[in-house]
């Protein structure tokens, strides 16, 4: 039996109060949560409303169908919730879908009206929508155009959470204050208990007088119980003193008798008298020895039962060995002893027991039988199982104990037979042992007419534990990378990734598929193409669009390796390079000092040098090059001069190129002398083999893009994908990018070899990173894109026309 753990009243009271407070807090939390949701919705619905209105305003009637020029403002407004995915849809009931994601859910029972409506609906995750219509005059009458804009709930949830936490924080504070008062109150009311504690603590061990004083009603019972206990203790101490006195009496008496016999022997007149005295002294010694043994055994057994030494043991083996040992003694020669265990031989009878104590008890039982029943006694020992107990029965053919004496027989110093004169401790020892085993003892009459003593030990039930074998986790992994990036640049990165793999693990197999940006984008949207583990692309807008469709997996990367704020979105998309767009020029034809300082100057520079530059300016083919389109569209956002510059370039017969490499080649050969918005310029700057190429940056702004990476949600091996992304962004990965590839790290190691022009200017405000985020979606809109490209083509063609 183990005591329950001690507890504190104060703590109990405090805990129940705390539980009460918690329930209150819970209710208030729920109210607060609902309120915070409403407040967050109210705030962020304004963003949806703003975006919807700005789109609605740009809806026009083109010939006989409505169309829209998606405003950047709409995306910018929505981007104020920077982590949220965006969907939109513009349609007209009379004309069908116009642009955006078709068939977005509408609220039930939508009536065409100019009233804005808000509602929540599930796509791949919950979205909050705003929908509003507008009536426009068309050739056939007045038609409705509906604009629907939706946004995921992340920003709302965060807002809700922060409002909620703020409120709950204060509430928790107030609750704690409340609990403090409760605690003070508890302390005050527990004071009388402390008084009792003090009174008891200051008592001397011998003072067993009752506590005095008048306790409060609530603890009167306790007070009384303590006093009852003290009285019991006093009684028990009296008994214990009695026991010591008894022991002293018994021992001294026995020793006096012995000394008497020896004295008489010393003075014996004859040898015969001496022998007689010695024989009596010997008998007296035997009795004294027996009594001493029993006293010590009694002390030992009571000590052992207090110091909990129970261990699982096989009772049958113990009984058998003890009996076999006893039988070797000479006094057992004529005793007829039998042992009967009624269990199958291989079935061990296990109990929780103390071997030494049980052996002592059994010895005492046999000893008693021999002592009281004579040297030729018949003793039968049986071991049986009975329900939850193992029963050890010792029966003999001796005189037995009359039923009326049985209760007294197990008390100390109660030897019932003055002739056989036991110590009066035998059965007391046995009782103590069985009580120490949480068992019980029964005295009865045996079939042989003598005493039957049954000891009941609680049986130990075996516990079976099954262990399930765990499958081994050490098989080789596979990593599939789909990338629209320079394979030359990626190779050292992959090698470095494999290098840092622990040797004892099997090396992963890496499958690398090289893509063009548009093909990669299309394949990702094609359900029949297997999903890779990592997607890398330089087309930031495409990557953002894929992530905005909910295709990316959320990665938990260490804060220390995260790229700057502008180069990551939603913990799903990460930029890992820093790549400014620059002007390349042929150093043989143009000198650095003459080049324009700003975008504004560029137009006039081209006009002023029309002769030298006509047909010798290169730019990206915006229809074929994703990067070119990205830079061109970003330029229109950054610069009001963009349209004018485009016209100037058209007049100067700008030559479109599909890739950076072709354009750089042309500059090096002198086919063109100026190339605009070129990515990869850094590589040329480093490359001493192409001395004819110069790199030029503007003072007003230079766009910076980043190659970005994400792990698809449906990746076969997302852990490996995540490991690769983590490596790209890690110190080792960034160092590899900086030192072993033509790319520039986004977070270059402090001691990295600097590319002078760029390194110095990294903090320069003229470098304007394009931010990964929903803002990049504007120019991906089908109508918007087509309009932009048509405008570009017609500008070039028109002005190029001879």
């Amino acid at each position: 039996m183990t005591d329950p753990r001690p507890y504190s009243l104060q703590r109990r009271l405090l805990i129940s109060m705390a539980v009460g407070f918690s329930v209150l807090l819970l209710i208030i939390s729920w109210l607060l949560w609902t309120y915070a949701r409403t407040a967050a919705n109210r705030t962020y619905d304004l963003l949806l409303a703003g975006a919807t209105l700005s789109v609605l305003e740009r809806v026009t009637f083109d010939a006989n169908a409505p169309t829209v020029d998606l405003p950047q403002t709409a995306m910018d407004i929505l981007s104020l919730a920077p982590e949220d995915r965006i969907v939109y849809r513009i349609f007209a009931p009379e004309h069908g879908e116009i642009t955006g994601t078709p068939d977005l859910p509408l609220p039930d029972g939508l009536t065409l009206s100019t009233e804005m409506q808000f509602y929540t609906a599930d796509l791949s995750e919950p979205f909050r929508f705003a929908v509003q219509g507008r009536q426009m005059t068309s050739p056939t009458g007045r038609d409705w155009v509906i604009v629907q804009v939706g946004q995921t709930l992340r920003a709302r949830n965060e807002q809700q959470m922060s409002l909620f936490l703020y409120g709950i924080g204060w509430l928790a504070g107030v609750s704690l204050l409340g609990l403090l008062f409760v605690w003070l109150a508890i302390r005050a009311s527990l004071h009388p208990l402390r008084a009792i504690e003090g009174a008891l603590a200051n008592r001397s061990a011998s003072d067993l007088s009752p506590l005095s004083g008048t306790p409060p009603h609530e603890i009167a019972g306790l007070f009384e119980a303590i006093n009852t206990f003290i009285a019991q203790l006093a009684r028990s101490r009296k008994l214990s003193e009695q026991f010591i006195a008894d022991v002293a009496h018994q021992t001294r008496t026995a020793l006096s008798a012995l000394r008497g016999q020896l004295d008489l022997g010393q003075d014996a007149a004859s040898d015969a008298a001496l022998r007689d005295r010695l024989s009596r002294a010997r008998k007296q010694t035997d009795a004294t020895v027996h009594m001493t043994n029993q006293l010590l055994a009694n002390a030992m057994v009571s000590h052992r039962s207090e110091s909990n030494r129970l261990m699982p043991l096989d009772l049958r083996l113990l009984v058998r060995n003890t009996l076999a040992d006893l039988l070797r003694e000479r006094r057992m020669r004529d005793v007829s002893l039998s042992f009967d265990d009624q269990t199958a031989p291989e079935d061990a009878i296990r109990i929780n027991g103390d071997e030494v104590s049980i052996r002592e008890a059994l010895r005492n039982l046999i000893d008693n039988a021999v002592r009281h029943g004579g040297a030729a006694n018949t003793i039968a020992v049986r071991l049986m199982r009975e329900d939850q107990d193992v029963v050890l029965v010792v029966s003999d053919a001796g005189p037995g104990i009359a039923p009326e004496h049985r209760a007294a027989a197990t008390e100390r110093f109660r030897s019932l037979d003055p002739v056989t004169a036991g110590s009066g401790l035998g059965l007391a020892i046995v009782r103590q042992v069985i009580e120490g085993h949480d068992g019980k003892m029964q005295l009865g009459t045996s079939r042989l007419g003598g005493l039957r003593i049954a000891l009941f030990f609680p049986r130990l039930l075996a516990l079976l534990l099954a262990f399930a074998a765990l499958p081994s986790l050490t098989r080789a992994e596979e990593l599939v990378i789909h990338a629209a990036a320079d394979p030359q640049a990626m190779r050292p990165l992959i090698a470095a990734f494999l290098d840092q793999y622990p040797e004892q693990l099997p090396q992963p197999t890496i499958t690398y598929v090289d893509y063009q940006t548009v093909d990669l984008y299309n394949d990702m949207l094609d359900d029949s193409v297997p999903v890779p583990d990592v997607v890398i692309s330089s087309a930031m807008d495409f990557q953002v669009d894929l992530v905005n469709r909910g295709m990316a997996r959320r990665l938990n990367l260490l804060t220390a390796i995260l790229p700057p704020d502008w180069a990551r979105w939603r913990s799903e998309l990460f930029g890992f390079t820093f790549e400014p767009a620059a002007v390349l020029y042929n150093t043989n034809t143009l000198s650095a000092g003459d080049l324009p300082r700003s975008h504004r100057d560029l137009s006039s520079y081209i006009r002023d040098n029309e002769a030298a530059l006509d047909g010798r300016i290169g730019g990206y083919d915006l229809r074929r090059s994703g990067i070119g389109y990205l830079f061109a569209t970003q330029d229109t956002i950054q610069s009001v001069q963009a349209q004018r510059l485009m016209e100037t370039l058209g007049r100067a017969a700008m030559r479109p190129y599909e890739t950076t490499a072709l354009m750089a080649e042309a500059v090096a050969k002198g086919e063109i002398v100026l190339a605009l918005n070129v990515i990869g310029s850094y590589a040329m700057a480093r490359n001493a083999a192409k001395p004819a190429i110069g790199v030029h940056f503007f003072d007003d702004y230079n766009l910076v893009m980043t190659r970005s990476v994400f792990v698809p949600k449906d990746a076969a091996n997302p852990e490996m994908g995540e490991a690769f992304v983590a490596f790209l962004l890690s110190d080792d990965g960034q160092r590899t990018i900086q030192e072993s590839t033509p790319l520039i790290a986004i977070r270059p190691p402090a001691d990295a070899e600097a590319t002078p022009a760029l390194h110095a200017s990294r903090s320069d405000t003229s470098f304007l990173p394009i931010r990964l985020g929903a803002g990049l979606l504007t120019f991906l809109d089908g109508i918007k894109r087509e309009g932009f490209l048509r405008n570009w083509e017609s500008t070039l063609r028109q002005t190029n026309a001879p």
Binding site: L323, A324, R328, R333, L337, S338, F339, D340, V356, E360
Partner: protein
């Protein structure tokens, strides 16, 4: 017989020495554990009486050292603690017997005699107790020079019981030693065999005690 008594209490040692000398044994005594350990490394004894609680070195250590050296001299442990543990009396512990103080001197002499008989029987091939004699080499038992007529199984059983004089053998242990692997021993047959052997030994000092459910033990009544 040559005995070594390792005991630090002089009064007890004197009494033991006096008693055993009077029975015709030669007895040496050591009071210190380390000295006894040293002595046992080169001197041979027939029986060692070993106290546990000793100055210098404990009786357990001396016993362990003896057995580690391969010294198989019978050892009777004398201890004042009644809670004898398996370190001494277990199968592999090494002591042949133990006695708890204060012991009966007659019991001590009897135990010594049993051990001496077991040892003598194993080394000299002849076991004798009073008028009874058993020649192991000839497999022949006799009483007062008159040969006993015994069957082969009875002689085998007698040998087993003599080898384990003063020890309780279970019926299964007897069967294991009596029958080969191929024979199927019947426990009933063993009971009958023991009963027959006991009849043959009537009138000799050799007795076989039966304890039902526990087994059999041979002892010499003269020793008591």
């Amino acid at each position: 017989m040559r005995l070594l008594l390792v005991e630090d209490n002089d009064a007890l040692a004197d009494a033991v020495i006096e008693r055993l000398r009077s029975e015709g044994h030669s007895i040496d005594r050591e009071a210190d554990g380390s000295a006894a350990d040293g002595l046992l490394q080169f001197a041979q004894f027939d029986i060692v009486l070993l106290d546990i609680n000793l100055p210098g070195q404990s009786g357990y250590d001396i016993l362990r050292n003896m057995r580690a050296r391969g010294d198989a001299t019978p050892v009777i442990v004398l201890t004042a603690r009644s809670e004898i543990d398996d370190r001494i009396i277990g199968l592999d512990a090494g002591a042949d017997d133990y006695m708890v103080k204060p012991f009966d001197f007659r019991e001590l002499s009897a135990r010594c005699r049993v051990l001496a008989r077991r040892r003598a029987g194993a080394s000299s091939n002849v076991f004798s107790a009073g008028a009874f004699r058993f020649d192991r080499a000839a497999k022949q038992a006799s009483v007062g020079g008159v040969a006993l007529d015994m069957r082969a199984r009875e002689v085998q059983l007698l040998e087993i019981m003599l080898d384990n004089l003063g020890r309780m053998l279970t019926k299964e242990e007897v069967a294991d030693r009596l029958y080969t692997f191929d024979e199927t021993p019947s426990l009933n047959a063993i009971e009958q065999l023991v009963a027959r052997l006991r009849r043959r030994l009537e009138g000799t000092p050799l007795a076989i005690k039966t304890a039902r459910g526990l087994g059999y033990m041979a002892y010499v009544t003269d020793d008591d």
